[in-house]
């Protein structure tokens, strides 16, 4: 079956937000201070809100009666289109903040560009969400700097976090046929073109954080086409098990 590039674009945006929001919600009650706990919950809430919007939009475009909840809770791993970066485990606080920074910096550039696309359903939401996303990028960059330039221990933890996550960065900017069709349809953004601005933004933070930009590793991809890391299955099992145990229920 040929996939609709507009629906798929909404789905990819929704899946990224949902999976990262779910990961952040795992922190609740377990953060290094109560203040940090509250700020992680804020980020999670923003992302779950974005997920509700984009998955709802994907369902509307598809027109087969699937709403945001059906798409979130009744699809399997092979149908999830989020990037591999967002599904990576929380690890320690350094890994969570590094993941957030690598993703939010990308998401900010993406939404800035998307705010100018033709299709208002995408442009308006991107524009509205930008305030949130800029805050996520700033907050996480601040933590990257604090931890990178904090103590020897925190610096080493940042190096380890980057060692884990750097492999998943190139996937963010990959363009496939669906992405190109989405650009033509006035909903998508040329993600490859965002890379130079991304590099400039993260390099500035690396420098301030006294961290060395990692060497490029072999790129790992597959998320956009349903081929994920082992971690996603467990995340989905936890997230989906109640609705799937009661498929006829309303909550």
């Amino acid at each position: 079956m040929r996939q609709d590039p507009i629906m798929q674009s909404a789905l990819r945006l929704g899946d990224d937000a949902l999976i990262l929001g779910q990961r952040l919600s795992e922190w609740c009650g377990h953060a290094p201070t109560i203040e940090v706990d509250l700020s992680l919950a804020n980020l999670g809430l923003d992302l779950i809100g974005q997920a509700m919007h984009f998955l709802g939009l994907a369902g509307d475009i598809e027109g087969q009666g699937r709403d945001a909840d059906t798409l979130a809770f009744f699809r399997t791993d092979l149908d999830f289109t989020n990037c591999l970066l967002v599904e990576q485990p929380n690890g320690d606080f350094a890994q969570t903040m590094t993941r957030q920074w690598l993703y939010s910096t990308y998401q900010q550039l993406l939404f800035e560009a998307m705010a100018g696309v033709e299709d208002a359903r995408f442009a308006e939401v991107a524009d509205k969400a930008l305030k949130e996303v800029r805050y996520h990028a700033e907050l996480s960059a601040d933590w990257v700097i604090r931890l990178g330039d904090g103590t020897d221990v925190s610096h080493q933890k940042m190096v380890d976090a980057l060692g884990w996550l750097w492999r998943f960065v190139p996937e963010l900017f990959q363009m496939d046929e669906l992405d190109s069709l989405a650009v033509e349809a006035g909903v998508g953004v040329d993600k490859a073109a965002l890379r130079p601005a991304y590099d400039a933004a993260i390099n500035a933070v690396f420098e301030e954080a006294k961290l060395t930009r990692p060497d490029d590793q072999r790129t790992l991809t597959g998320g956009r086409h349903g081929h994920h890391s082992e971690h996603l299955g467990h995340l989905l099992a936890t997230m989906q098990h109640i609705p799937r145990s009661h498929p006829d229920a309303r909550w």
Binding site: D37, F93, D149, T238, W251
Partner: protein, 328 residues
Amino acid sequence: MYTTELDKSRPVDLQTGEPKDLVDAFEARVAADEFIEPKDWMPEAYRKTLIRQISQHAHSEIIGMYPEGNWITRAPSLQRKAILLAKVQDEGGHGLYLYCAAETLGASRDEMVDALHSGKAKYSTIFNYPTLTWADIGAIGWLVDGAAIMNQVPLQRTSYGPYARAMVRVCKEESFHQRQGYSIMLALAEGTDAQRRMAQDALNRWWWPSLMMFGPPDDASPNTERSMRWRIKRETNDELRQKFVDATVPQAELLGLSIPDPDLTWNETRGAYDFGDIDWSEFYAVVKGEGMCAKERITARKKAWDDGAWVREAADAYEAKKQARNVA
């Protein structure tokens, strides 16, 4: 601390040794429902009692994040997930304002956190019960937050200003929490057989612990009289418990669920519900730390704190370097 104590001619309170004129003036202000502010003179026992009560309340908010936090990743719809995450976040926020209110009395946050971790400070024992199904999230919002509101509404008029003001904010959010809990129960009660079963089961498990949240019966609550006089407490445990039962029974009826108390009957003469005896041996056992999840809750809190030590140290080290650079 008070130089006036050296003044031998000044009459002192025989029990505390505090200057009698100050004690009398304090008691008169409190009796006139005036607010006591951080810089005002207050008896040492009032200060200590308040620190204990406010920090215990703060700890309860923080520990209270765990039973509900247990369900955030498994909430059955995106809307419910977002609401629950926001609610648990509110509880963390309440913990923060209350710690700040206790700090105005001279308690430090580190001391309070240490007291919680070492087991010296208590928190509400209700949070040592497990959350076994999604319906528990409904029951906690409806019953536990409902009982908390009954306890907290009168504290908006408590005599200590910073505490009263913190409670105004807390109560506003708690009433939203209670409504979301009831809305979960309503969806379950109107749902499938399996959903109704979980709703009834949750009510069965949370009903009696919720009644215990008001504390021991008045005749076994030794500090009530003094706390009432000081306006730290504004209604007795039994009065509040009765109010809660009277408000909640009709709500359960509306849900079509039954309260697990065969002795519950409407008493026409009193205009209130009579209810069965509370198993106080269970209450005291849970207070002693024998609740199902007592070990889980405090272990989770200590682990979060210990695992986060390197982050707090890094943030302090970075701040110090930044200040040094600014000076240079």
